[in-house]
Symmetry: C2
């Protein structure tokens, strides 16, 4: 800390006078979302058919904001706007669109416009857009592209989905180990085909294998005669082409990287992944976990109602199966319920508490597994702790609910039964809330997808079975 306070960069100065900020003002409350007036203006321009006004408004926006506008508009308005923008649409806007909306826009743009758009994007963004296209749309566009671009798209697609190969850009700066800073800076000044933005220089040996990395902030402060070999960090994290993007994100996060070199099977430098891509991956992975736990698709918000309904149907059907199974358990005890109707009143409580407590455990487990905080090394300790927590809360809620049930139905026995069932179900919930995701992970099934259906099945069945079973034994 502050062994380097930037004093000389902060000249003493007069007290600040009134002066408006430069650039985009992000200081006002609520200015972070697109201003409603802007959205209204665009709605109005489109409704009035004021082509020029709509174009001016959208072109003034950052591509990411323009993409948000396209997402916000109704399908008809969007079609109109894309028609207006046509060939002048900023290629960057497309890479910021949600996949569902993008598909719609791409279809409207047509192969020729699309080929132009792809040629103006970085290779990673171009591949990302290209991979979502239909087979024959892909062929159409490929034939409209110069050979070099065609090759890059095809190569990009040859890597597995969600791999480093798809994520990487093919534009990077690699410098021979023997060069000096002076040579390097002269080269960079003369080069006309540098990437727009890069954060590190990759140092390579004669076989084009990365041997070190130099952050630009170190390079720019170094003296001309210094050798790259002396300045570079040798501890560099190379990313194999086939590495899963989730693992890439882990490495960036764990080691705080700005960029990392991607290497082929022979260890040669073939691309670079930068932190801005990783930010999107991290968000996507977190999104996936949340969505899968509830059984919805990631694109849900932007899908048409019919697609959303279809996508959610499977999950609900699974849950219906679970619910029917629980009903079958209840059905076993209809005789008992007929005699003591209080049981029907109380029984959902035991199942519901088990479900909620289990979901707490499950969520912690799923997230910890995804973040690599939970694995074989601490699984046993985690299960042990969760069972203790389940038992502790089980006993407390058993006392609370036992008392309530006793007073409500004037029967100590019913109070006792619901209490015992409660402890039992909360311990079972803890046990399965940990074992289900750990087991799925070991079977290489994503714990976020399937865990919660299994869990509710267990807590429902055990909840009803324990409560009604005990009642059948002790009340009749």
């Amino acid at each position: 800390m502050v062994d380097r306070p930037p004093e000389q960069e902060r000249p003493e100065e007069n007290p600040p006078q009134e002066q408006v900020g430069v650039g985009i003002d992000t200081s006002a409350e609520g200015s972070l979302v697109l201003p409603e007036e802007l959205i209204s203006s665009i709605h109005e321009a489109l409704a009035a058919g004021d082509v020029q006004q709509a174009e001016v408004l959208v072109h003034a926006l950052h591509p990411a904001d323009a993409a948000d506008i396209l997402e916000i508009l109704s399908a008809d308005e969007r079609t109109l706007l894309v028609e207006i923008l046509g060939a002048t649409i900023d290629p960057e806007v497309l890479s910021h669109l949600e996949p569902t909306i993008r598909e719609e826009v791409l279809e409207q743009l047509g192969a020729e416009n699309l080929a132009r758009v792809l040629m103006h994007l970085d290779s990673d963004d171009a591949v990302e857009i290209f991979e979502d296209l239909e087979e024959d749309a892909q062929q159409h566009i490929l034939s409209a592209l110069p050979l070099a671009y065609r090759h890059i798209l095809q190569e990009g697609l040859s890597y597995p989905e969600d791999s480093a190969g798809r994520l990487m850009a093919r534009e990077f700066v690699a410098i021979p180990q023997s060069w000096t800073i002076g040579q390097t800076i002269d080269y960079l000044r003369a080069a006309e085909d540098l990437p727009d933005i890069f954060y590190d220089l990759y140092v390579v040996n004669p076989k084009h294998k990365p041997v070190g990395i130099i952050p630009l902030s170190r390079a720019i402060g170094a003296r001309r005669p210094e050798k790259l070999g002396d300045l570079m960090d040798q501890e560099l994290r190379t990313i194999p082409l086939t590495m899963d993007q989730e693992d890439v994100a882990y490495i960036f996060r764990q080691y705080g990287l700005a960029s990392a070199p991607v290497v082929d099977a022979a260890g040669r430098l073939v691309g670079t992944i930068t932190v801005d891509d990783v930010v999107l991956v991290i968000e996507e992975e977190a999104e996936e976990d949340i969505m899968k736990l509830a059984g919805v698709a990631e694109t849900d918000l932007y899908d048409a109602a019919i697609d959303t309904a279809k996508a959610r149907f499977t999950w609900l059907l699974l849950n219906l199966g679970t619910a029917v199974l629980a009903s079958l358990v209840i059905g076993l005890f209809s005789g008992t319920i007929e005699k003591v109707v209080a049981l029907a009143v109380l029984m959902p409580i035991v199942a519901s508490m088990g479900g909620n407590a289990g979901t707490q455990t499950l969520t912690v487990a799923v997230r910890a597994i995804a973040m690599r905080d939970l694995g074989p090394w601490n699984a046993l300790r985690f299960v042990g702790k969760e069972v203790i927590v389940g038992a502790a809360n089980g006993v407390i809620f058993a006392l609370v609910m036992g008392l309530v049930a006793w007073l409500w139905f004037d029967s100590a026995m019913i109070g006792l039964i619901i209490g015992v069932a409660m402890v039992l179900n909360l311990v079972v919930a803890a046990l399965f809330g940990t074992l289900i995701p750990l087991g799925l992970e070991r079977l290489k099934i994503d714990p976020a997808v399937a865990s919660s259906v299994f869990l509710t099945t267990v807590t429902d069945v055990v909840g009803f079975l324990a409560f009604l079973g005990l009642a059948a034994l002790m009340l009749t």
Copy 2:
């Protein structure tokens, strides 16, 4: 795209020969988590009291990995290891620890070691550690620190929690607008107190207000006589000190930034936020949403069993309230249930399906609100779509379950009743699954925290009420 294929940086070369990779090998399957042998070796060294071996093993690790080791060890092993490392512990290790574990370690280290640790960290990391300490521990450490450091910690703490002021580092590079690239590079070469890593040069006017930003990759490729004022991007996103970190993350994500200048109320440059800090914020925010939806604390995994049990208790108590409310509804119809015990068997199905369908809607809404994809501008369309989806699936599941119930209990009437109740509850689930989070957001309450309790209350009550109410009307 590839209007700049880096051909000249890729010399043609011989086919690759056998050669081991340089640096840390991340290519082997599963090498991303700490190798189990390493963990075992540390366990063994600690058990055998082999102080030197343990120290060697841990010091060889990246601070982020060393922090992971400390988190994995049992409490006793951790105490022993911290004792061994003592004053030689890498300050960076502390900033990578989970808060719960860090608190434990800090306590053991004592004020004097801590003061030393804080002085070696960047100001943002130091403030982050310092803010979690108890009041008197803070006083202790402040008195052990030189005045300049003390001032920085106190200033950091004066900003609201989770604000840009807490997140920013005070070390940045600001250059007057009138300088040339040559002057700037000479200055950077001479300066001895530059930040370790920076990605952009901030260009300031004489009042020390940021007027532009130059990515280092542009600066290093520019010629010496070029003026900063001509090279800089004027469209810069300045972050006010008081901005919430969630908004900061949004700006970085939306505009793909590597760093952004932080300004005080007068618009003067006071600090910088870099993307590596934002990556952690993004992850933290996603984590928060997942955890809050299930009613667990973010630190849950590392909390002691007793703290976890306490933290989860409130949520379960709320859910017990909900469950009891639902039971009261059932209680209203005990007469009907006594006559037709099939109702007790079937009733959890309606409530459960409503809960699941509602949770799907709710999850999409909560996440979309957090990502600023859902707001007043499209709320109405979203609610409309969800109701359509709920109705569509409601009708399908009504047919399925109606048929099942009819066959099971040989009563068309019971089939009809459960069908109608199902449609009703799924539409209500869709309606409240959207309106609850949107309403909470408007009231400035975090939708992730409270939404799901409200929702289950509604789907349980409506589910039982619709099903049993219809049955009471039509069966008796």
